[in-house]
């Protein structure tokens, strides 16, 4: 403990420098002034350049963003190598808990038993979940002649479980009084591979479906009906290829397909970055977690104005205590960059994610501060 005090003084300096630099770099594309990021810690000179390598593994949803983060981070710390293996969230958490990688990317926060198991891996510290990747999931459709479509949670649930079969069904007509709805059959398209997108989408259907969705939320699509396609690109192509198709995909991949406005409260919301960040802010944190952990209990059934409830929140999982100092410094510095405004903007550009709100970013930065070395 004592030993780490010294380091604690030096580390924020490194972190702050990286934050400050990142903000400068991004200043031409974004409106954020450089001063805002550095205000989190008060920039001071003398932060040393880091060197070494850290490994991470996990969520494949984060892959595109991760590439941007790694490139951006290495621009600031050229001597640091960050490796990320997009082996899947479950595999990433497993590798993290076994100590094979320094941090994990995961579409789900750690379960209670994993938190328990993490105590040993983290040298008596805790594992913490940091929500750093928010990606809106768009409900896309292909219905010639219908440029705008508004649907509520229960209607979406009924479409995807196959109980509404044609586009001119009364439920859809009631929500779209102005649209000319054809009698075309509805073909719901879902993912054929296990995916965090499916899990988040079914969570939404279960929470906002008002009982219309009876399946347990899961990464695998359990219902036998509808059409299945591989990966986000597969779903988008299948929706594009068929007439009367509807599916769900990362909003950034929706292309020129029609995007459903989803009912929240009394209005219908499009999956924009702001709306996605808003639902995360409107949600509460999971209780009974270790200090510094920010596991979010997404309010899928929120009625908050301007919030879009179908989002995927992906976490970085790190230890609060690492065995050796170098790893701790590198993880801290890298995660600091990821959570910074510059990092979030890079991810938004590369992966179409929604930058986390200033409020959440500040909380995440505080948690990252608690990362240290020693036992």
């Amino acid at each position: 403990m004592k030993q780490s005090l010294l380091r604690r003084a030096a580390l924020p300096a490194a972190l702050v420098l990286s934050l400050g630099l990142g903000a400068c770099g991004a200043a031409n594309e974004t409106t954020t002034p450089a001063g805002e990021s550095s205000a989190t810690g008060g920039a001071d000179s003398g932060a040393e350049a880091l060197s070494g390598a850290i490994n991470g593994a996990g969520s494949s949803a984060q892959q595109a963003a991760m590439q941007a983060w790694i490139a951006g981070f290495q621009g600031e710390q050229p001597d640091v190598t960050v490796n990320y293996d997009p082996s899947g969230s479950g595999a990433g958490r497993e590798q993290f808990l076994s100590g094979a990688v320094a941090f994990a990317g995961s579409d789900a926060y750690l379960k209670d038993e994993e938190l328990e198991a993490a105590k040993e891996r983290c040298n008596g510290g805790d594992a913490i979940d940091l929500p750093i990747y928010v990606s809106p999931i768009a409900v896309v459709y292909n219905l010639p002649g219908v440029a705008e479509l508004k649907l509520s949670g229960p209607t979406l649930a009924k479409i995807f479980n196959g109980s509404i079969t044609t586009w001119n069904a009364p439920e859809i007509a009631a929500e779209n009084p102005d649209a000319q709805l054809p009698a075309t059959a509805i073909t719901p398209v879902h993912r054929s591979d296990k995916s965090g997108t499916t899990e988040n989408f079914t969570e939404y259907l279960a929470a906002a479906g008002e009982g219309a969705w009876t399946e347990e939320p899961s990464g695998e699509w359990k219902l036998p009906g509808g059409e299945a396609a591989q990966g986000t690109s597969g779903v988008v192509s299948a929706v594009k290829a068929g007439e009367g198709t509807i599916g769900y995909a990362d909003a950034s991949q929706a292309g020129d397909l029609g995007i459903v406005s989803v009912k929240v409260g009394e209005e219908f919301v499009q999956p924009t970055a702001e709306a996605a960040a808003a639902v995360v802010d409107a949600s509460s944190q999971v209780e009974g977690r270790p200090e510094g952990d920010i596991a979010i209990d997404l309010a899928r059934d929120t009625t908050e104005a301007g919030a879009y409830p179908i989002v995927l929140v992906s976490y970085h999982i790190a230890c609060t205590k690492y065995e050796d100092e170098q790893t701790a410094e590198l993880v801290k510095s890298f995660l600091g960059y990821v959570a910074s405004d510059a990092g979030q903007q890079e991810a938004a550009k590369a992966a179409g994610s929604a930058p986390i709100s200033k409020k959440l970013a500040a909380t995440v930065s505080d948690s990252i501060e608690s990362i240290s070395a020693g036992s």
Binding site: G90, T187, P224, E243, G244
Partner: protein, 317 residues
């Protein structure tokens, strides 16, 4: 490479070298033969060991919650169904192409056509998958609509027709194109080996070209065609990426070939599910791989048996 010493010494050395070469060649070829068996055994043992947790797990913990059999049976059904469609389409076509190349086409054209068919085998399977998904499937949708409207009373075409065309039938067609080269190439070789005397005898008896083929070439080549088809079936059973991309696999067990809901196949399911699988799920997938291994093995044994049974009829005599 002999040195310019005396002739006798050179002779002796060459003999010695030949003996050493003999031994080395015998050694390496034996080793290669044994290595194949070892690899096969290693794969079988790996599959068995990795599958044990899945075999032992209680039914409700296996993916899908209906036990290992409940999980694998629909996949096995889909695997066999898609392969059978492929075989039904590819075999007659392949035999036709092979006969044309071996007996009808002018020599120069036959050569070119042979190369073209062989080239089909060099296309990576994922390319067939993309072709099936983006080109073939949309073009088959009108056919599916017509089939479900007019032949809907046949369970195979019960519909409702898929609007995207990513059906079991499309997957079967893509697989058929993929196995076409191997079935054609082998059949062609077999037909070309028909003893010249048999054919000339048939012609001398006043047979037309078709009758010659019917009474001399086809009986001679039948076992070869069967084994070629079985090899093709083996490839179709194990095909992964093309099916994973083309087929809309939702896990339903149905004979309806033209709908959106289809059973998946074992290899495609492994490819799709493995990236996010952990723990017991991996073991379940490997168990399904074991089933496929056994089936493919069985198909090959069957092919051998068919070939051996008809050995007396074939060209050996």
């Amino acid at each position: 490479m002999t040195t310019t010493a005396t002739a006798a010494r050179g002779e002796a050395r060459r003999e010695a070298r030949a003996r050493a070469g003999d031994r080395i060649f015998k050694g390496t070829s034996t080793a290669a033969g044994i290595l194949i068996l070892l690899i096969l055994a290693a794969v079988a043992i790996f599959l068995l060991i990795q599958a044990i947790p899945a075999l032992r797990a209680p039914a409700e913990e296996v993916m899908g919650g209906e036990g290992l059999l409940g999980y694998i049976a629909p996949l096995l059904f889909g695997t066999i169904l898609s392969s059978v469609i492929a075989l039904v389409i590819a075999t007659p076509l392949a035999v036709g192409i092979a006969l044309f190349i071996s007996h009808y086409a002018p020599r120069r054209m036959a050569q070119g056509l042979g190369y073209a068919v062989d080239l089909l085998a060099a296309v990576p399977s994922i390319v067939y998958g993309l072709w099936g998904f983006t080109w073939l499937a949309p073009r088959l949708t009108p056919l599916y609509r017509w089939l479900s409207d007019n032949l809907g009373f046949i369970p195979l075409f019960a519909g409702p027709a898929s609007p995207t065309g990513r059906t079991m039938f499309t997957a079967g067609v893509v697989l058929a194109v993929m196995i076409l080269p191997i079935v054609t190439a082998l059949s062609r070789e077999v037909f070309l080996q028909t003893p010249r005397l048999h054919e000339e005898a048939a012609l001398a008896l006043g047979a037309t070209r078709w009758e010659t083929i019917r009474y001399a070439v086809i009986p001679y080549g039948r076992s070869g065609v069967v084994s070629a088809a079985m090899l093709g079936l083996g490839r179709a059973l194990g095909e992964t990426m093309a099916v994973a991309i083309v087929l809309s696999a939702t896990g339903a067990v149905t004979f309806n070939l033209i709908g959106s809901t289809n059973p998946s196949t074992i290899p495609a399911n492994i490819a799709l599910t493995f990236p996010e699988a952990t723990g017991l799920d991996v073991s379940v997938l490997i168990a399904s791989g074991l089933v496929l291994f056994v089936i493919t093995f069985g198909v090959n044994m069957l092919a051998r048996w068919v070939v051996n049974r008809r050995a007396e009829f074939s060209g050996a005599n």
